[in-house]
Symmetry: C2
Subunit: 138 residues, 2 copies
Amino acid sequence: MNDLLERVRAMGHRLTAPRRAVLEVLARERAHLTPEELHRRARRRYPKIGLVTVYRTLALLERAGLVERVHVEAHCKSFALVRLVGAHHHRLICRDCGRVEEFSDCALESTLKSLQKRTGFAIESHQVEVIGRCPECQ
Amino acid sequence: MNDLLERVRAMGHRLTAPRRAVLEVLARERAHLTPEELHRRARRRYPKIGLVTVYRTLALLERAGLVERVHVEAHCKSFALVRLVGAHHHRLICRDCGRVEEFSDCALESTLKSLQKRTGFAIESHQVEVIGRCPECQ
DNA sequence: GTCATTGCAAATCCTTTGCATCAGC
DNA sequence: GCTGATGCAAAGGATTTGCAATGAC
């Protein structure tokens, strides 16, 4: 949590109460949340916070690479904190509670290499999302 | 193309001119398109078609599993035809022209097995998206 | 002829912007 | 105190809905 705050500050941004509230919610809940859900929860910590600020904070955190969109739901409206910061990472998501676990060992290298050979594409990146049910929800 | 039309009809839906137009565009362009782009292109085949019908057709095709959302862009607004129908499949997408290639050999079985063991999640599905530049765009 | 489908307009969301005020540093 | 950040209201987009007219079967 403190490292998150430090990161925001290090990028030259101010550490304001609304930003703290959003980051605290994201860090505490290990799930992906829509801006609306995030707003509702952040309000419990800082009642004055407006939905607009949540949007702006998410945009800031996304630019900073601290938060990413999750693609399980139809419209991809929710966000989750990036934990394996900076590193190559993917997500394992509980379809019931939305809980997010990260992992980095996707073992796709050889698959990508043969794809590249077969299609002629110059492969630049990839994303994996695994859906399941977490131990608690089973 | 004809198999697509047959599928729609087989599900008990009517084969109307607007639906043909949308399917033709999706089948011809090997890329992902937003509802708006799709509308613009479909209009060339059937000028009366409204944007609303494009939305409704996409919803129908998505329910039928013939079309899926693509997640490259920030808001996941675009759709692409599913080619390896029914089968397990993933996408290789050109970041410049949006062209989509499908593949099914992701070789993730052992990765998922060990993930499942490590996290206790009951894994149900996964999706992979690979981004790169196609031969033409390089 | 029947009933699903369409197009239009309007409603409804979701997200972004403009602007005066506020608060970190 | 300077300047970035906030909240509010309003604008802007995207998507959905209501309804009468149309067209597939």
